[in-house]
């Protein structure tokens, strides 16, 4: 199991645009899309979904600009060149908290769903432990293999969306469920929904750190956009399906709309499709958490000035252990009570929006200031 862990961050291969596309798409389909309709509620939010999707496109443009520079393929050294050593250490220290928050929210959120629908008497801490253990195994294979895992995660999860085609046909679908199509009044809660959408589009900003492994050329932006567009389609489709199924009046009352819709589907062999769905969603979760684990480990090495030391499985294990303890604490202190969980969710909504917005923007601005030129690698 420990074999090969000493070269966690080795770089033998680079991955082309297809991987970038899938990375963008899968990192956007983590947890928030499961609860999103519950907060969006009103049919006219479809337009907001699309609009924020376009905004995210803009972000990806900035991101691709960074990925095209030679600095990005230098990894750590590139960042040092851009910001200076001290600032990089400071930034990666802050990044640790962002990653920890993100991992906590998606893992705890998912574990809670599993607890609600599948294993009601199992403690979520235990599920978290198992998930993290598995993520440690996946992450221990190294960055290369983890990036490659996105394909498996994609093939194991993407087809599930076809289940929901059932909901967009009569008798469940009635066009009137989508009315009114334009907002007649704008409530305060709608702003929360907008930020939630923004935050759920976040995730691709972590690609900034994967520069060394991505083969970039002038088609990169196109592939990133494909991934983003796929996400927009998935979000809109799921939201419309949930509007048809629940009607916008009931949407606010159901906590996990997408999973509840899965429960209505019936297969002659397995009656509870939601249980199958959740198991398959685990693939995507494990992939994302493993990637974040590696980033966390890398960032902590930078933050504590241990760049010169070789990577080791032990170090990764230690950071997994830290994350596990952190997550158990978060779970006990925040997640298990409803209001505090809401606070944490709001925190992640804001943190996700901020990181998605600021990371590419700041990097591009600094790049402009430093006068870093593009290079067209083929």
């Amino acid at each position: 199991m420990m074999m090969g862990t000493h070269q966690l961050f080795k770089k033998n291969e680079t991955y082309n645009g297809l991987y970038a596309m899938l990375l963008v798409n899968r990192l956007q389909m983590l947890y928030f899309f499961l609860i999103m309709p519950n907060i969006l509620i009103n049919p006219y939010m479809i337009w907001v979904l699309i609009a924020v999707g376009l905004l995210s496109q803009l972000n990806l443009l900035l991101l691709s600009k960074w990925l095209l520079t030679r600095l990005s393929s230098n990894g750590y050294n590139g960042f040092v060149q851009l910001f200076g050593k001290k600032l990089v250490r400071f930034l990666s220290f802050i990044g640790l908290f962002f990653i920890l928050l993100k991992i906590s929210v998606i893992t705890l959120g998912f574990s809670e769903i599993v607890q609600t629908f599948i294993l009601p008497s199992t403690d979520t801490n235990f599920l978290v432990f198992f998930i993290l253990l598995l993520c440690f195994y996946v992450a221990g294979r190294g960055v290369e293999h983890t990036i490659r895992f996105v394909l498996i995660s994609f093939f194991c999860t993407f087809w599930m969306i076809t289940f929901f085609v059932f909901f967009v046909f009569p008798p469940i679908a009635q066009l009137s469920d989508l009315y009114p199509l334009i907002p007649m009044e704008w409530k305060v809660e709608n702003w929360k929904a907008v930020f939630l959408i923004l935050s759920s589009y976040s995730g691709p900003e972590f690609l900034v750190f994967l520069g060394p492994w991505l083969k970039t050329n002038n088609k990169t932006f196109r592939y990133l956009s494909y991934g983003n567009a796929l996400t927009v389609v998935e979000y809109v489709f799921l939201f419309i399906a949930s509007l048809f199924y629940f009607g916008s009046n009931f949407l606010s009352k159901t906590q996990y709309p997408i999973i509840n819709m899965g429960r209505y589907l019936q297969n002659p062999v397995f009656e509870r499709i939601d249980i199958m769905m959740l198991s398959f969603l685990l693939f995507n979760l494990v992939f994302a958490v493993s990637l974040f684990l590696l980033l966390f480990y890398g960032a902590s090495k930078i933050a504590f000035g241990k760049m010169s030391k070789p990577t080791s499985g032990k170090g990764l294990l230690f950071s997994v252990f830290l994350i596990f303890i952190g997550m158990v604490l978060v779970n006990e202190l925040f997640w298990k009570s409803w209001e505090k969980q809401n606070f944490l969710l709001n925190l992640q909504i804001i943190a996700g929006s901020i990181s998605y917005f600021l990371v590419p923007l700041v990097i591009v601005l600094v790049m402009k200031k430093e006068g870093v030129k593009k290079h067209a690698s083929t």
């Binding site: 009315y179 009046n249 209505y264």
Partner: protein, 367 residues
């Protein structure tokens, strides 16, 4: 030796994480031979505002079955009480039907629906059924005769639900909830009546919000199936004209004028004559045309009365209010709609298209 130490360290770390995670892997004991997944619950009114919850035990195995009932104030309390009385644990994950007595229906069943909705074990596909008469007694009497009464009953409902068989109203939890919680619509349920010869389908129960207000049966019920539920009927007998229409398919066009004062409700029907015992020469196009006109006016009158009844009761199971929704305007409030609905002038129009007769009937002697 070094390896040994390393392994030891790792194991200790593993155990520490286990210990930190606070518990061993506890999962619910759902061994299928140790649980009793009830297939249905029958709920009726008990004494002093209590609920009477009963079911057949054991639900699945072929042991001696018996009817178990409990008087409780809360539904889930009943399930718990079962556990104290029976050697197997009761689970609700395989629930297929909920049988509600009509008296309870009149009081409102919102709380029961909510219980079902919040339990993630209970599928939103369970069938809701209203029963007139004492269902528990009937169950007792059935135990000796029919071992799998509950299962057969479930299969019957399932049969008519799939592919819109056009015979009975079948409503599952999701549909009921959807009609209950969306504005401008009211739910409905099938009603079964307990008689000496068994459980008979009576018609459809109309709810105002969560309260039973009216049961429609016979021709009204047929019309209701035709214009709302299935849009399909296998047979539609009209005794007044000694005729049976078969394979009736309907298409509905609803048109509300801009002031919301009149509504034109057009029903287009495609059908064929299944049986005729009257004196008319239906091969004659003229006579057939007359027949058609007669049926149209008859159905229009009947439907008008049905809708009128709905207007008086202020229930809208036909979801007519949805027609007022527009893509670019704010939806009106439900109360306002109901007020309007009450006063609305509703015009019913039937267009019947009867397939020409086949030559099977041409052998009649008077031709």
């Amino acid at each position: 030796m070094l390896l040994h130490k390393k392994l030891c360290k790792r194991l200790i770390l593993l155990f520490m994480t286990f210990w930190l995670s606070g518990c061993a892997p506890v999962t619910e004991n759902n061994l299928i031979e140790e649980i009793s997944p009830v297939t249905f619950l029958s709920i009726s009114k008990g004494d002093k505002g209590k609920l009477k919850v009963s079911t057949i035990m054991p639900p699945l195995s072929k042991e001696n079955k018996f009817v178990m009932s409990q008087e409780v104030s809360l539904l889930k309390e009943g399930v718990q009480k079962y556990n104290f009385n029976f050697y197997q644990e009761i689970k609700s994950g395989q629930m297929r039907m909920l049988v509600i007595s009509d008296e309870l229906g009149k009081d409102g069943i919102m709380s029961i629906i909510n219980v079902l909705l919040t339990d993630p074990d209970i599928s939103p596909r369970i069938y809701l059924v209203l029963v007139k008469g004492n269902f528990d007694e009937y169950l007792e009497s059935q135990l000796d005769k029919d071992e799998n009464f509950d299962y057969s009953f479930y299969r019957m409902l399932k049969h008519y639900e799939e592919k819109n068989q056009g015979e009975l109203t079948v409503v599952n939890l999701h549909q009921f909830k959807h009609l209950l919680y969306t504005p401008y619509s009211d739910p409905f349920l099938p009603v079964f009546k307990i008689e000496e010869d068994g459980v008979n389908y009576e018609g459809t129960a109309l709810f105002k919000d969560d309260k039973l207000v009216e049961t429609i049966s016979s021709l009204d019920e047929r019309i209701f199936q035709l214009i709302n539920n299935d849009h399909y009927l296998k047979v539609l007998p009209i005794p007044e004209f000694e005729i049976v229409l078969g394979h009736v398919r309907s298409k509905i066009i609803v048109d509300i004028d801009s002031s919301y004062s009149t509504m034109t409700y057009t029903v287009n029907i495609d059908t064929r004559i299944e049986e005729y015992r009257g004196e008319k020469q239906l091969f004659d196009p003229q006579q057939l045309e007359n027949m058609k006109k007669d049926i149209e006016t008859h159905l229009e009158k009947q439907t008008y009365e049905l809708v009128k009844k709905m207007q008086e009761l202020k229930v809208d199971p036909l979801q007519l209010g949805i027609q007022t929704k527009r893509p670019f305007s704010k939806p009106m409030e439900e109360k306002k709609w109901i007020e309007m609905f009450e006063k609305m002038d509703i015009k019913i129009k039937y267009n019947i298209n009867i397939d020409p007769l086949t030559d099977a009937n041409s052998k009649r002697p008077n031709l």
